[in-house]
């Protein structure tokens, strides 16, 4: 089956105004997002995540390499059929009400006006904005903007969702709700490309993760493969008394084992890679 996103040797250079120099924002990036998976794209600010997303959405043209969405070049508008996008900062028409905004984007995505009303009601309820649907978007808080952004990304029931910082500005309860929604969407068979700084959330919900730094792919794989420490095993047990724990630890040490924290978190790995990248530069 054709992958949802297939990027091969992607390069994106930006011309620096009033200079002949070029800034390489994405450097030979290759990755594949399989259908039905949640793929996390991580990296510090300026690592090329948003540029990559913009190339995927056809908002930027690749300087080199290829980028395909459902097997079509990302520069073809047809590639965006079945794609929903939540931008990093919520840029929406402030003069529209939430309901009108969804109707507008729905009509642009091919939704019939007659059938849109029911879909809009469902989505407003899904993102918890059923009471704010008739308010102007300009009066929404940042968290509400993220929610309406999520609703507009879902309006045409897309197969691929690209979520750039979906929990930015959302309170912890809201962030947890969004994480649950993402898992729910995956269960419905959707593919999700997720950019987030909430590493614990990415670790909890993503199937595969790519970590970028200075435009390059630093590490890619399943969350488990990235966070495991080679050559080490761990046994996790609950409910041990201090005495029993100490006995087990002593026994392990007697047998030549080294006792330590068994694995690092994705956050540890991310920080380590990001710092290494910073030191290199």
């Amino acid at each position: 089956m054709t992958p949802a996103i297939s990027i091969e040797g992607l390069i994106k250079d930006f011309r620096i105004p009033a200079s002949k120099a070029r800034l390489r924002a994405v450097d030979n990036l290759s990755l594949t997002v399989e259908r039905g998976s949640i793929y996390g794209l991580l990296g510090p600010n300026g690592s090329g995540k948003s540029t990559t997303i913009k190339v995927v959405l056809g908002l930027l043209k690749a300087s080199g390499g290829t980028c395909e969405v459902f097997g079509k070049s990302s520069e073809d508008a047809s590639a965006r059929i079945g794609v929903g996008y939540l931008p990093e900062a919520p840029y929406f028409q402030r003069f529209l009400t939430g309901r009108e905004l969804l109707e507008y984007f729905g009509c642009l995505s091919g939704l019939e006006r007659s059938g849109a009303s029911k879909r809009i009601d469902q989505l407003l309820e899904k993102v918890g904005l059923e009471d704010a649907g008739d308010r102007r978007v300009g009066s929404y808080s940042k968290g509400m903007l993220q929610r309406i952004g999520l609703a507009q990304a879902l309006i045409a029931d897309p197969e691929l969702l690209i979520l750039d910082e979906p929990t930015a500005g959302v309170d912890p309860i809201g962030a947890a709700d969004i994480a649950s929604l993402i898992i729910e969407l995956k269960a419905e068979g959707k593919t999700i490309l997720l950019c987030s700084h909430l590493l614990s959330q990415v670790e909890a919900i993503c199937d595969r993760v790519a970590i970028m730094g200075r435009g390059r792919l630093l590490r890619e794989g399943t969350v488990a493969s990235l966070t495991e420490n080679a050559g080490q095993d761990s046994i996790r047990v609950d409910g041990l008394s201090t005495e029993t724990r100490n006995s087990i630890e002593s026994l392990a040490k007697e047998r030549g084992a080294r006792v330590s924290t068994p694995s690092r978190s994705l956050e540890d790995l991310f920080l380590e890679l990001a710092r290494d990248e910073g030191d290199e530069s």
């Binding site: 959405l57 930027l60 590639a79 059929i81 794609v83 931008p87 529209l96 642009l108 995505s109 691929l160």
Partner: protein, 282 residues
């Protein structure tokens, strides 16, 4: 709902949706309120002319004043509104979300143009209504004061006032398409507006370039003048105010000719604008 494997067809429906939303933005941005105030202001100022009381020639004065207002305010609004409504989408980054949908950029360009044009056309409609009302009201009063001037009935030809307004809508359509073109590669709305004003002024003087093209012998200059003559619209063609309302009749063919002329230039500028916007990185 379309599946990802489908081919996206260019759609007038999406153009209509974008145009409708652009028009709604203009209405809600209170641009319409400003326009209404302008139109009412123009009407109110025409009431002041009754103090001059110079008989039937006063009607010509009011008509000229109204036509001038339509041309000047209409052109100024066409430049400001189009730059605001088109470049505003780029400036406020709302175009990012919009163009991430399955739409062609040429649909966006045409939709924004139609929305902006419809907005300014509404302003012209309001101005025309106000002008007709002012002319009719004054003509009724003057008919009582100077019955000798009106032995053959009313002298104002109200259909011609509407005709003038329609011709100005064509001129403004060209101007809107010029501003759309500059907005597609501008880095600020101010640039698009300045270029719009420049083309407006140059367009008013374009007939000089045409005359020079015909008269000059130097081939290089002839080429430059010829290029200017074809690439820039001749807005002077739309200055028909003197001939209308109280003067001579415009032949019906002139409406058709100006319509075709406008369609040609609007199509040309929008085609270039679409090509330019396709290359633009957001």
């Amino acid at each position: 709902m379309k599946a990802p494997n489908d081919k996206l067809r260019w759609s007038l429906r999406r153009v209509r949706v974008i145009a409708g939303n652009t028009f709604r933005e203009a209405v809600r941005m209170k641009l319409f309120l400003a326009m209404t105030i302008l139109a009412i202001g123009a009407l109110a100022s025409s009431f002041l002319f009754q103090e001059f009381n110079f008989g039937s020639s006063e009607l010509k004065f009011i008509a000229d004043f109204g036509f001038g207002g339509m041309t000047v305010f209409g052109s100024a609004l066409a430049i400001i509104v189009t730059a605001q409504l088109f470049y505003g989408e780029i400036e406020h980054r709302t175009a990012l979300t919009l163009l991430a949908k399955p739409i062609y950029r040429s649909e966006f360009v045409l939709g924004k143009f139609l929305g902006a044009w419809a907005t300014v056309a509404c302003f012209l409609g309001m101005m025309t209504t106000c002008l007709i009302f002012a002319l009719w009201w004054r003509e009724t009063s003057i008919m009582v004061e100077y019955p000798d001037d009106f032995q053959d009935g009313r002298i104002v030809r109200y259909g011609a006032v509407i005709g003038f307004s329609a011709i100005q809508a064509l001129r403004i359509g060209i101007l809107c398409s010029v501003v759309v073109l500059f907005s597609t590669y501008a880095s600020s709305s101010l640039f698009a507006m300045v270029m719009g004003v420049l083309i407006w002024i140059v367009g008013q003087l374009q007939h000089i370039a045409t005359e020079a093209w015909i008269a000059v012998d130097n081939w290089l200059l002839k080429g430059v003048y010829a290029l200017a003559s074809f690439a820039l619209p001749n807005f002077h063609l739309f200055d028909v105010g003197d001939k209308l309302a109280l003067g001579e009749n415009l032949p019906g063919a002139i409406y058709g000719k100006l319509g075709f002329y406008s369609l040609l230039y609007v199509s040309f500028y929008l085609a270039v604008a679409s090509a330019s916007f396709n290359r633009r990185e957001l």
